[in-house]
């Protein structure tokens, strides 16, 4: 075991109070409360995790899961509450203390340096002399022990996302932690990689009696991989269950706070099985697809980023009027570049974009919009809206013609247009003059969607439309996207959440390393095959 402060022998001291048969839990949090201004992130939270178990922490975005774990790893100080490790009370004032206590966390976004080799990344932060040979040996040893095979001499930027996560895990495991926390570890993995990850976690807990906390908002993987589950909602713990004694519906209900339909459960909380069963129903829905007019055609698109890295490598796709094409893929395979291309933000080295049969010059400011491509971008703050301008101004943006007289804006028209869209799209805002920055994420998303749909687009691109939204907002977006397709708009849905794609898409294309590697209709979906294509294997 690693060296750590005297908490190990604290067992005898607390034996009096915890004299029952069960050993003291590996981690016990009681009465943890944390406020950020008026927002209560954690409200009197109690969490108890036994040694040697995989404990699921389930909740929607904003439920307080991450904050709770940041408290445990010393990144955030709680306002009140008690932390017990192996029965002894501790005060975790900073991440170094947490590391000393044997607590280690793999964050959702990797902290690796692409240009450096695997062994260099693993030894990063070490002081004194760096011994290359022993570092490489360390990577191999830890890799063998947990089944995390990765070549120590490869540069991290050449690795797949799954391999990168293995490097992150090796970074943690080599310090021999007692408690391993993983924050949404599968959001960047293919199905197969996720399953491999879970078997590693199983080995870590069964064979070495370590403890794992798995943060997730996906029901499937909680059911799949955990022993116990604690469910959080709006900062409070609402339920604790033995995983074996519960099911998807109960988990979904507890997490959301009400009954949800099967389809919503699918896209909002990640119950894949329910969706695949629905295939039969979807089958007869869209048979006459082929005859519909092609609205968007991208042919052999090649593009490079500013750092000369290729972003798109011969991507071709078509979207027909009235259909939803779901573009599935693991994050970072060119989805962002495609979104940028259709937002006029990216120039092509080669290839063409046609909207309704007419070629559109890529990268020319406003060209895509003028051609009838509406985009709800992946990160609405980057190109979707202007946070420092008003709601009404954000609803106008490219469509100044409607609110201007000559070269001057008409405040009256700006306002009336805004009021119309606010009520039509159900945007919760005190008025059209409020600064965009002060709206909630869900409402900002609605503003972007409202503006893009108000321009009567021929093609609508929605990228990660539900990321970071709560269930209500997800239901809203899902419904709007479906309606848009029904009204004849060609919809391109770019998402890394397979569940979202299975819920909405009529046809599915898979993107990998900047190109489309396969296509299938909704009726022929085979999750295994999709997963393999997303991982870059021919299927």
């Amino acid at each position: 075991m690693s060296t750590r402060p005297s908490t190990d022998n604290g067992d005898t001291a607390t034996a009096g109070t915890a004299a029952t048969a069960a050993p003291a839990p590996a981690v016990e949090l009681t009465g943890i409360t944390k406020r950020f201004g008026t927002v209560v992130a954690c409200d009197d939270v109690r969490l108890s995790v036994q040694r040697g178990e995989i404990h699921g922490l389930l909740g929607q975005n904003g439920a307080g899961k991450s904050t709770l774990m940041k408290i445990l790893t010393g990144l955030v100080r709680p306002d009140s509450g008690q932390i017990m490790i192996d029965g002894g009370e501790v005060s975790i004032s900073d991440p170094l203390v947490a590391a000393g206590l044997g607590i280690s966390m793999v964050h959702q976004h990797f902290s690796l340096i692409g240009r450096m080799r695997v062994w260099e990344n693993v030894t990063l932060g070490e002081r004194g002399h760096v011994d290359r040979a022993s570092a490489r040996r360390l990577v191999t040893e830890v890799g063998d022990r947990y089944g995390l095979a990765v070549d120590p001499d490869r540069a991290v930027e050449d690795l797949t996302t799954g391999e990168r996560q293995r490097v992150e895990l090796i970074k943690c495991l080599r310090r021999d932690p007692d408690l391993l926390i993983l924050d949404e570890p599968t959001s960047v993995l293919t199905l197969k990689e996720s399953h491999e990850l879970f078997s590693v976690l199983r080995r870590v807990t069964k064979e070495e009696n370590k403890t794992v906390i798995l943060i997730s908002h996906k029901l499937d993987e909680i059911l799949h991989a955990t022993d116990q589950v604690t469910i959080m909602r709006s900062g409070a713990v609402v339920a604790r269950r033995r995983t074996a004694d519960t099911d998807v519906r109960e988990l979904a209900r507890e997490m959301v706070g009400r009954e949800v339909s099967r389809l919503t459960a699918g896209s909002a909380v990640g119950a894949l099985d329910a969706l695949v069963e629905d295939i039969g129903a979807a089958k007869e829905a869209k048979e006459e697809d082929e005859e519909r007019e092609v609205r968007l055609r991208v042919t052999d698109a090649h593009a490079t980023g500013r750092d000369r890295r290729p972003l798109l490598r011969g991507l071709s796709l078509t979207v027909h009027a009235g259909e939803i094409l779901g573009l599935a893929g693991v994050e970072g395979n060119g989805q962002a570049a495609l979104g940028d291309l259709l937002s006029s933000l990216l120039e092509l080295d080669k290839g063409t974009v046609e909207v309704c049969g007419k070629a559109v010059r890529a990268g020319r400011p406003g060209a895509m919009h003028a051609a009838g491509v509406g985009v709800v971008p992946e990160d609405r703050h980057v190109s979707g809206c202007v946070l420092d301008m008003s709601l009404a101004e954000n609803l106008a943006m490219a469509d100044l013609g409607e609110v201007a007289r000559g070269s001057f804006l008409s405040p009256r028209r700006l306002r009336s247009r805004a009021e119309r869209l606010i009520s039509e799209f159900d945007i919760a805002a005190p008025g059209p003059d409020i600064q965009m920055r002060r709206l909630s994420g869900g409402n900002q998303q609605k503003v972007v969607l409202a503006r893009e749909l108000a321009a009567d687009p021929k093609v609508l691109v929605v990228a990660q439309p539900t990321r970071g939204l709560d269930v209500g907002a997800i239901e809203y977006m899902t419904e709007r996207i479906q309606k848009a397709a029904e009204s004849g708009i060609a919809v391109l849905l770019i998402s890394t959440e397979l569940e979202e794609i299975l819920t909405l898409a009529h046809r599915i294309a898979v993107i990998h390393r900047g190109a489309i590697v396969g296509e299938m209709t909704r009726a022929e979906v085979d999750v295994e095959r999709l997963g393999m294509m997303m991982g870059g294997q021919a299927a």
Binding site: F36, V39, A41, G59, N61, G62, A63, G64, K65, S66, T67, L68, K70, L75, V76, M232, G235, S343, S344, L345, P365, G366, A367, M368, H369, A370, V375, V382, S383, G384, C385, V386, L387, D388, M389, E393, A396, M397, A398, L400, A404, S407, F408, L409, P411, G468
Partner: protein
């Protein structure tokens, strides 16, 4: 100062109080420091303060002088504001102003025609000269990616060299006269080419350039707030990616803003030339370009707020000039006015910095 803070745009009450206190505190510190310095050098603080007041506010003549000084400052600030709204930082107004004055002098001295026509031509030439000087860094930025701040700044030094060169060459702009008795400056403009003055000395009298500047202010306020151009400019400044998506061409709009800013600085030089100084001198910019930038900063890039701020800075320049004429050493005058300028700038700079810090703070509320 109260008038100034309440004029600042969209202030909520507690923030306004906070700002006011900040201004009071920073002026108290500046005045204490200035007093200490003046006393140390054996002068009287009260006499110094009185001289500053005499030079800037006592009687129509002094007030007129303050307004004369404020006029080019406001013009420079307006240009800086247009640029800042587009998210571009032009800090080369000192050079653009000088080049504007030079171009204005060339037109004013050599263009044939009736006086009023030459006068208008000289002002337009000045605007064009400033715009061209700002155009060089604009081209460097949009063509080769040279940072605008660095480009505009370095052009200031080129401008200073060029100005000195043209007034030391007899076949260029150097004044006529006996060899050896010529100063490094141009001939005086003809009487009819000078901007007429409004009012009679010793009563309130100002250059008619002030009306040009006020008209420019009104135009800028209207355009920024109500025109589609202003809308796109703000969009570009706040979020270039969203602007590009919406069809804003950064080269045209941003480059245009830079040219406008240069034209305003050049026009300021033209007004100084034909409004007060009467001839081109390489030292005539006299920090007006830099101080105009400070006016924009203190006014938080709001054109209406820039008017009182420019008047304050103009008063300080007029008062400082008078103070020097009472026998207080020039360097002490500079230090005292610099302290007061810093007192005026500090609260705005502080607000900018804390805004930046707030924005960079990581958001941890997400669960």
């Amino acid at each position: 100062m109260t008038a100034l803070t309440t004029r600042l745009p969209r202030m909520v009450k507690p923030a306004a109080l906070h700002t006011l206190l900040l201004y009071v505190a920073s002026f108290a510190v500046a005045l204490t420091l200035a007093g200490a310095l003046v006393t140390l050098t054996g002068k009287s603080m009260s006499e110094t303060a009185y001289a500053l007041y005499q030079g800037s506010l006592e009687g129509g003549g002094s007030i007129g002088l303050s307004i004369d000084e404020a006029t080019p400052l406001l013009l420079v600030a307006l240009g800086a504001i247009v640029c800042a709204r587009a998210g571009i930082f032009n800090i080369g107004q000192e050079g653009q102003l000088l080049m504007g004055a030079m171009a204005g002098a060339v037109v004013g001295l050599f263009m044939p025609g009736p006086g009023w026509m030459v006068m208008v031509g000289s002002l337009l030439g000045a605007a064009l000269g400033g715009a061209l000087w700002a155009g060089i860094p604009a081209v460097m930025y949009y063509w080769r990616g040279v940072n605008v701040v660095i480009g505009t700044l370095l052009m200031v030094f080129v401008a200073a060299q060029l100005a000195m060169y043209v007034v030391t060459q007899e076949n260029l702009l150097q004044e006529d006269g006996e060899a050896g008795a010529r100063s490094p400056q141009s001939n005086l403009l003809a009487e009819g080419v000078m901007l007429p003055r409004v009012g009679e000395y010793p009563d309130l009298n100002v250059t008619s350039g002030v009306f040009v500047v006020l008209a420019a202010t009104v135009a800028i306020v209207l355009l920024l707030r109500h025109s589609t151009w202003g809308f796109r400019l703000r969009m570009l400044g706040h979020n270039p990616a969203a602007a590009r998506r919406s069809g804003v061409r950064a080269t045209v709009l941003g480059g245009g803003a830079l040219l406008i800013s240069g034209a305003f600085a050049g026009m300021a030089g033209g007004i100084m030339l034909s409004g007060t100084i009467g001839r081109f001198q390489p030292g005539m910019a006299d920090n007006v370009g830099w101080e105009g930038l400070l006016v924009a900063l203190v006014a938080r890039n709001h054109p209406v707020a820039a008017i009182p701020v420019a008047l304050f800075f103009g008063g300080l320049r007029a008062g400082g000039g008078f103070l020097a004429s009472t026998g207080v050493p020039r360097y002490l005058v500079s230090v005292v006015t610099a302290l007061l300028v810093m007192a005026a700038v500090f609260p705005a700079a502080y607000a900018e910095l804390s805004k930046l810090r707030k924005r960079n703070k990581p958001v941890v509320v997400e669960g």
